[in-house]
């Protein structure tokens, strides 16, 4: 058993590694310039050029290091392209390198060009300056060639790959380190550490998700067993139809309908059932106290989320109880003259819950996804709303912190499900694939 657990944890490491690499490269694709955002936060006026400040922050964020542990690139690419901190110049380099010019030629050409530009500026020739600036910004492909042809160099039509090892002094490694030491960097909105912000939001989300998870599990197992054992019962048909309705209904629509119709008295005095959706923030209180003070506003979201996951779990339990009832050991138990409740409780339920446990992990992940939409609708300051609002304001450190954390939670819940599964059902081969 210990070996099985260790094996599962060991297998999760490459998964986490891949996800972190994906998230790291996503963070490189972000349209905003991280240096400029940080300059904004520190109160540097970005409308004027601050090359020295920019370069300092650029180096502080380790952006001058290579991206990964190794680099594979065409042989005419320079090793040190990341050290060019000027974004325009870097774009220019990359464009020319991609069309096959060697780095030495490009540098010569750009030096030539900047001498010309300086000369033009010295003689105050406005037309020349505009013309040269156009070339520098590469507005059309002819100008693109024009710059590189300044010293008669020819583009390469074929290139070989070259391979460098960068050691630990690279951006990905520093980024991983900063997760543990720095907590995902700081949020550009208020300068708070990203992980602290997420921690606060997580308390709100977990309080909803966990209550929902246990309520739906409790009622789901109960109702599912009832539905499976009373095939001709009085409430059978009504219950299954209601559950099918709840299973198919989109959470966000259900929530919107409840908010629109049942939190105001727009449609008659009797429709004002639930308190309105705004959560009150009491400054100076801890998050947990705030959750308790807003308890009545949690009723509706928890109700909606629970009804939704209830439908999912009930279907699962009903199906597996029905499957177990068909098996010979159930028949034997009945023919021994055991009471129906006793058969269900002592024999059937133990076996029927095994497939339910494997689905528990995905049910938990589903609850997180469901709470994302509900938090947006009900204005609860949880993970989902934090994610959406951080994305709107380009607060990427927080966004990537949430992504990594959620992947981690998902992976851990999958591992726990696997271990529980092995614990409940010793029959299964411990090292077999599912």
């Amino acid at each position: 058993m210990t070996r099985f657990i260790l094996n599962r944890i060991f297998l999760a490491i490459p998964t986490l590694f891949f996800i972190s690499v994906i998230v790291f490269y996503l963070s490189k694709l972000v349209p905003q310039d991280p240096v400029l955002s940080l300059m904004d936060l520190r109160g540097v006026d970005t409308s004027i050029d601050h090359d020295d400040v920019y370069e300092k922050i650029y180096k502080e964020l380790n952006l001058d290091l290579p991206n990964f542990y190794f680099t594979i690139q065409p042989s005419h690419f320079p090793k040190t392209i990341n050290q060019t901190f000027d974004t325009n110049k870097k774009d220019l380099y990359l464009k020319l390198l991609n069309s096959g010019y060697s780095f030495v030629d490009i540098e010569k050409a750009i030096n030539n060009f900047s001498q010309k530009l300086d000369a033009a500026k010295a003689s105050n020739n406005a037309a020349d300056i505009i013309e040269l600036n156009k070339v520098y910004n590469l507005e059309s492909p002819e100008q693109h060639n024009g710059l590189a042809h300044l010293n008669d160099s020819k583009p390469k039509s074929f290139f070989w790959p070259s391979f460098y090892l960068n050691g630990f002094n690279n951006q990905y490694h520093k980024w991983l380190q900063s997760i543990f030491t720095n907590g995902f960097g700081i949020s550009i909105l208020d300068g708070m550490t990203a992980i602290l912000k997420v921690k606060k939001a997580l308390t709100w989300t977990l309080s909803i998700t966990l209550i929902d998870f246990f309520l739906s599990l409790l009622f789901g197992i109960f109702i599912g067993t009832y539905l499976a054992t009373n095939e001709k019962g009085r409430w059978q048909k009504t219950f299954s139809q209601i559950l099918y309705f709840l299973y198919s209904i989109p959470v966000f629509w259900f929530a919107t309908m409840m908010v629109v119709y049942f939190t105001t008295d727009d449609y008659g005095w009797w429709t004002d059932w639930f308190p309105s959706v705004a959560i009150d923030i009491y400054p100076g209180k801890s998050t947990f106290q705030q959750i308790l003070m807003n308890a009545e506003k949690f009723i509706l979201p928890i109700l909606i989320l629970t009804l939704h996951s209830l439908a999912y779990i009930t279907r699962l339990v009903r199906r597996s109880v029905l499957d177990e009832l068909d098996k010979p050991y159930a028949l034997l138990a009945f023919s021994k003259g055991l009471d129906k409740t006793e058969v269900i409780r002592k024999h059937i339920l133990k076996n029927a819950l095994i497939p339910t446990i494997t689905s528990m992990a995905s049910a938990f992940a589903n609850a997180f996804a469901g709470s994302l939409v509900l938090e947006v609708i009900f204005n609860i300051p949880g993970m989902g709303r934090l994610l959406v609002s951080s994305m709107e304001s380009a607060d990427w450190n927080v966004v990537f912190c949430i992504t990594l954390l959620l992947s981690f939670v998902t992976i851990v819940s999958f591992i726990i499900a696997d271990i529980l599964y092995a614990y409940v059902n010793p029959k299964i081969e411990l090292n077999a694939k599912t």
């Binding site: 490459p14 998964t15 198919s248 989109p250 994305m391 992947s407 998902t410």
Partner: protein, 371 residues
């Protein structure tokens, strides 16, 4: 007289079939049902399709005289039963309008087109990838493909080179570079299947299973949200491709389990013994046997993709601003509590469609279990 209905043989009821048909009809013909232009109009030069109202003298109009984006500035946020400032009953907004005066019914028709697009293409993408990877991992397993060690090393070098060049070239050439190693591998496998000992076993099953595990441990909705925002250009095709890429592991996992069962059958051995190629065995003998679980997954996948897409447009991410979908209509309802029609009708459509596909999946499942 007994009519043999094809849809009944796979377990669909007549109601479900009709519902499917009506949905597809609305989605395909959305431009002809709701349009503010003349479908066929007489202009000064002659007859034309989709003629602007100002250019035409006369012509045939659509059943609903509004496009999804037509703004009726005289009727902003009017309900289906309230008084509307329209010239005749033909121009009435039967399901009301939203806060800037767009017809809800026209929006719903346009939304059904988007829903069909999303559902169909995500299922197609996930089926293509899922069948390909499911075939490799299920049919060959960890020991099915053996290469001589030097061949394997050469192939590995070729793969790395090809993928390097595909990264630094663009368009069709890049695609060719990307799939070339796989084609070469297929060729090698067909020619060396004779060796049984001492070769290098290509661990398809392990590699693909790890891929499946990694993708399914990523929280889907969150990743889609982030990728779409990072990409920055909202487009319905980005949504489709990403949902499709996240859904193929489900298909691959089920297909793999099916193939493991079918592989033991005798007819596979017989086919092998007369020298049938692996691809032909898979296409003619394995895939038809494994088709029914794939159909069920596709039906449920259709429902899930539509749900995901409408959730995304409800959050306002991924779908361009001008595009009217069911989710974006419900998004409006959040800010207008007095407009009950905005939340109700598009939501009923989403619910209805998800219900339809879920019940179709259930029916087929039931049919298969009872055979």
């Amino acid at each position: 007289m007994k009519i043999n209905l094809a849809y009944k043989s796979i377990g669909l009821s007549t109601k479900q079939f009709c519902g499917l048909l009506v949905f597809c009809l609305f989605a395909i013909a959305h431009n002809f049902i709701a349009n503010d232009k003349y479908l066929i109009g007489k202009t000064q030069t002659g007859f034309g399709l989709f003629v602007e109202s100002e250019d035409a003298k006369y012509g045939i109009k659509a059943i609903i005289p509004y496009s999804a984006n037509t703004v009726d500035k005289y009727n902003r946020k009017v309900g289906p039963f309230s008084k509307q400032k329209v010239s005749s009953l033909y121009y009435r907004h039967w399901l009301g309008t939203d806060s800037i005066g767009r017809d809800v019914l026209a929006g719903i028709i346009n939304g059904s087109y988007i829903a069909l697009l999303v559902g169909l293409f995500t299922v197609i993408i996930s089926l293509i990838l899922g069948i390909f990877f499911g075939f490799l991992s299920g049919y060959y397993g960890d020991t099915g493909v053996q290469l001589r060690k030097p061949t394997f090393v050469l192939w590995m070098i070729l793969t790395l080179l090809c993928w390097f060049y595909s990264f630094y070239t663009f368009g069709f050439v890049a695609f060719i570079f990307f799939i070339l190693p796989l084609l070469v591998l297929g060729f090698l496998v067909n020619n060396v299947s004779g060796i049984s000992r001492g070769g290098f076993c290509f661990p398809f099953d392990t590699i693909i299973f790890r891929m499946i595990e990694i993708i399914s441990s990523i929280p889907g909705l969150f990743l889609i949200l982030i990728i779409l925002t990072v990409l920055g250009k909202p487009s319905i095709w980005n949504v489709i491709i990403i949902i499709g890429l996240l859904r193929w592991p489900i298909v691959a996992r089920h297909l793999r389990a099916e193939i493991l069962k079918i592989k033991e059958e005798q007819f596979i051995d017989s086919a092998k013994s007369i020298g049938q190629t692996d691809v032909k065995i898979f296409l003619y003998h394995v895939l038809p046997m494994a088709a029914s679980p794939l159909i069920i997954i596709s039906a449920f996948g259709f429902a899930t993709s539509i749900l995901l897409e409408s959730t995304l447009s409800f959050l306002g991410i991924g779908v361009p601003l001008g595009e009217v979908t069911w989710g974006s209509l419900i998004k409006e309802a959040r800010f207008h509590f007095d407009a009950w029609w905005l939340a109700l009708f598009p939501g009923l459509m989403i619910y209805g469609l998800i219900y339809l596909f879920n019940s179709i999946g259930d029916n087929i499942n039931h049919k298969i279990r009872n055979i």
